[in-house]
């Protein structure tokens, strides 16, 4: 018994005061992915990378919005979404106090993005912000004015129409030399 007291005297009190005092997690701790809606362009890279499908990116029923949805209950905190996100809209935070009572829907985060419709066939195919972002990238990537004008057009086409249009320009002999 005395020996035990000696040991405890030697090591002092090591119990964390949490939850009465805040607890500081270690560096690079992978907590709840924090979503910044303003930065998200709806590219769905995170949805594809997510191994447990905690993130889904889908059109809503009438296809007027692209819904980004994250279910924290299914997230395994692997950080793959953080790795692939091109704009930093999703980053693992240090938040670890995630428990909820009774209602699981408190774990959900979602964002609705406007849909981009194809200029040719009017099919919804992407988010407006993604088209804008792609154009922004191209305009700073040292390409010629003429190519940018072209890009403005083909960025707003769905993949199928883009394919048809490309085939049409090639077969009609209109294609340009890439400068």
């Amino acid at each position: 018994m005395m020996k035990l007291l000696d040991i405890s005297k030697k090591y002092g009190e090591i119990t964390h005061k949490y939850p009465f005092e805040p607890y500081k997690v270690a560096d690079n701790f992978r907590g709840k992915p924090a979503y910044i809606f303003d930065l998200c362009i709806g590219c769905a890279a995170c949805g594809i990378a997510c191994p447990s499908n905690a993130i889904t990116v889908q059109f809503n029923n009438d296809q007027s919005k692209l819904i980004w949805e994250f279910d924290c209950g299914r997230c395994i905190f692997c950080g793959r979404c953080d790795e692939v996100c091109p704009t930093g809209a999703i980053k693992l935070s240090e938040e670890f106090e995630l428990a909820v009572k009774f209602d699981k829907s408190a774990l959900i985060q979602r964002g609705e993005l406007d849909t981009q419709y194809c200029t040719t066939c009017n099919k919804p195919f992407s988010a407006k912000r993604l088209v804008k972002y792609s154009f922004e990238c191209l305009s700073k990537a040292n390409v010629s004015e003429k190519r940018l004008e072209e890009a403005k057009e083909y960025l707003c086409m769905c993949p199928t129409c883009k394919k048809t249009a490309t085939v049409a320009t090639f077969t009609s002999g209109k294609e340009m030399v890439i400068e």
Binding site: I14, P19, C75, L107, Q109, E112, A141
Partner: protein, 274 residues
């Protein structure tokens, strides 16, 4: 799929009022019985980490017991495999009323990484009513303590459902390139991530770019070589130093006209490591 009909007498004895009543008037420790419903054992390890003196949940009166008949709280982990379906029900029915069920881990909450596997039922709440959810894979011991204290009403729940429904303008996202061509930044970031993973790769990218900007003229291969070599010499972490050299040799030289002598020699002694 409805898998289990809760018997009427269990339902009657488990209303919210009765549970709150139990929490208020318990007058003794809470006994926790832990059921492993096919978890990978990550969650179990964290539960045992949480009951060590470092976290000491007996401060709040949590005590693990070995028998569901002694328990007030059922702590369920795992995605509920078919083998564990009946044992879970037996434990649930054996626990005295009113019972509090806590689902622990991503698996317990929704099925987690196994949610669409053929052999699991994906989550405790598909079978029995759950009162508190603790996500995490596995949850940090602090998350477990937080979850249990939240379930008892000591702590407040922090998360709420967040929904952004208005698509506003987005801020300009693409920064100007230091070389006038964003493809350079793109290739640089990809290669930095390939060399040092995404967390450290981004730090490496920032270090490299700031060293490049410091040279004054980013398009002058001679000036940038001097500035990058300097940055490598003052860098404390040899991994960053060497990778900065690799980035310079493999990416920068593609975008700016360079001769062989403008490349940095990666031999530590030559670039003068500390």
């Amino acid at each position: 799929m409805k898998t289990y009909e809760i018997p009427q007498e269990i339902q009657d004895a488990n209303t919210l009022e009765q549970k709150l009543d139990l929490l208020k008037n318990i007058g003794r420790s809470f006994s926790v019985f832990r059921i492993d419903c096919g978890s990978c054992n990550g969650c179990e390890i964290e539960i045992f980490a949480a009951i060590t003196p470092l976290w000491d949940p007996e401060r709040f009166g949590f005590k693990l017991v070995a028998n569901p008949r002694h328990a007030d709280i059922l702590l369920c982990t795992g995605p509920v495999t078919r083998q564990m379906y009946y044992p879970l029900l037996r434990a649930y029915e054996a626990t005295p009323d009113p019972k509090i069920v806590v689902a622990l881990g991503a698996c317990g909450v929704t099925g987690g990484i196994f949610y669409d596997a053929y052999s699991v039922l994906s989550g405790i709440d598909k079978i029995i009513p759950v009162d508190a959810y603790i996500p995490g894979c596995p949850p940090h011991p602090a998350s477990i303590i937080y979850g249990l204290t939240t379930a008892l009403g000591v702590m407040e729940q922090k998360l709420q459902k967040v929904s952004f429904e208005h698509d506003g303008d987005m801020p300009p996202l693409v920064e100007d390139s230091v070389l006038g061509n964003t493809l350079f930044e793109r290739d640089l970031l990809v290669h930095a991530k390939r060399l040092m993973s995404y967390v450290f790769g981004r730090k490496l990218f920032d270090k490299y770019i700031s060293a490049l900007v410091k040279s004054g003229n980013t398009k002058d291969a001679k000036a940038t070589k001097i500035s990058i070599t300097e940055a490598m010499q003052i860098e404390d972490d040899p991994r960053y130093a060497e990778c900065m050299g690799i980035l310079h040799n493999e990416i920068y030289t593609h975008y700016v006209m360079c001769e062989e002598e403008d490349k940095i020699d990666l031999h530590r002694v030559i670039w003068g490591a500390k």
